[in-house]
Amino acid sequence: MKKFSVKTIVAIGIGAALFFVLGRFVSIPSPVPNTTINLQYGLLAFMSVVYGPVAGALIGLIGHALIDFSWGWGIWWSWVIASAVYGALVGLSAKVFKMQENELGKKGLIKFNIAQVVGHIICWGVVAPVLDIVIYSEPLEKLFAQGLFAGISNAVTTAIVGTLLCIAYAAAKPKAGSLTKE
């Protein structure tokens, strides 16, 4: 088993707690009935960039599983796994494209948004429906319709919330070499 740093473990724990609170209690009613806008994916994308793909995957997995548990409908594994994959994808692309979370300029923000949109497309357009078919054998059209709605609304909220978070975080953290000799 690969060793996690203590910080990663704590980040997973607190990240999952945040994911849970946002997903469970902070819901913005959307124009479409019975659906709420999920803010937690903005958080997940941001945390994945800061703490890496492993933390992102586990925050998605634990946070989403806890939300499902607390509603009591059992764990909808296909979507829980899709959340985990999303965290991993954004975290990986942050590594590959060398996004520096504390100095994301305009370029970094564009990269971040491309990564998060592609991540959402893969997760809700491919991973979640395919798993749904394997596990629950539901009709294809229904799943892709659901996935499409979830993917688009999640991508929009991630774009707004995630981007604002990245900007705020970059402003709050001192940059490398920001000290000048007097």
């Binding site: 473990i9 997973i12 607190i14 586990l58 509603w71 059209e141 319709a145 919330v161 975080y169």
Partner: protein
């Protein structure tokens, strides 16, 4: 707030089982239910789940809210399946018995009804077990259980941390939300959707930045106490397995085998009465 996961303390054989055994049973049971569409097995599991519920002495009124929510979800899901794909049953079972012609593409076929019955049974055989697990397992035992069934203790500890900090994060969220609303940040329906999203960010930014400080504090404290230095760790709430734990895990394991055997004998995951 403390009862977020609806743990209900009562004295019953199911409460006395260890959390690890219950978690293992829950996973095995859901796997048995998920792996196939064998109608009789699903129906038997549903009956067994209801019986187990009686044994646990959890009353229906304890969980009526969750039950109502779940059943709405199940009905909406079934309706959605029918609306979008009214011929799905036909494509699965390979025959078409029209019972009633509605309008347009909407025809009621015996196959479709049977498929919906199976989907509904899938819910009814797993939901009671999940509720049972939630209502009879102390959340603090949950993390210890995860470690027990083979999840690395670092990840189990992350789950324990999440459970521990959910109330704190919730409190911080409420405080920040109240403060921002007092400063005139509009969160109600009066603001437009985009506006509301932006305003929520005004709460999220302080919440998340303060949480990140908290991550630093906690990880420093854990590091100072030598967390993660050894290969194993012990849990305050872990208990040794008893006879019932082994028996129930064996039964649930047998259910998985049964479901797989049925699939193998049947040649497909679907029990098909239409051939």
């Amino acid at each position: 707030m403390t009862n977020l996961f609806n743990y209900i303390e009562r004295s019953s054989p199911i409460h006395r089982m260890t959390g690890a055994a219950k978690l293992a049973c829950l996973l095995l049971w859901s796997f048995a239910a998920m792996s196939g569409f064998h109608t009789l097995l699903l129906a038997a599991l549903t009956v067994a789940a209801v019986v187990l519920f009686r044994i646990s002495r959890i009353r229906v009124k304890d969980i009526s809210f969750m039950l109502g929510f779940t059943f709405t979800f199940m009905i909406v899901n079934n309706l959605l399946i029918y609306l979008i794909s009214p011929e799905h049953g036909v494509s699965i079972y390979g025959s078409r018995t029209v019972l009633l012609e509605l309008f347009g593409p909407y025809v009621i076929t015996a196959e479709q009804l049977f498929y919906h019955l199976n989907v509904a049974l899938k819910y009814t055989c797993t939901i009671p077990i999940v509720l049972l697990f939630i209502c009879t397992t102390d959340p603090s035992e949950f993390a210890a259980s995860l470690n027990r069934i083979g999840v690395s203790y670092r990840i189990s500890y992350a789950v324990a941390l999440a459970l521990r900090y959910i109330p704190d994060v919730q409190r911080a969220y409420t405080e920040i939300a109240n403060a921002q609303q007092a400063r005139g940040v509009e969160m109600s329906k009066k603001a437009s959707l985009i506006e509301r999203l932006k305003n929520v960010s005004a709460i999220l930014i302080p919440l998340i930045l303060s949480s990140m400080e908290r991550i630093d504090t906690i990880s420093n404290a854990m590091e100072l106490r030598g967390f993660g230095k050894n290969k194993k760790r012990s849990w305050y709430s872990a208990r040794p397995f008893g006879a019932w734990d082994w028996i129930s895990m064996a039964v649930c394991g047998a259910l998985v085998v049964l479901s797989l055997v049925l699939t193998a004998l049947n040649g497909s995951r679907f029990f098909n009465p239409f051939v």
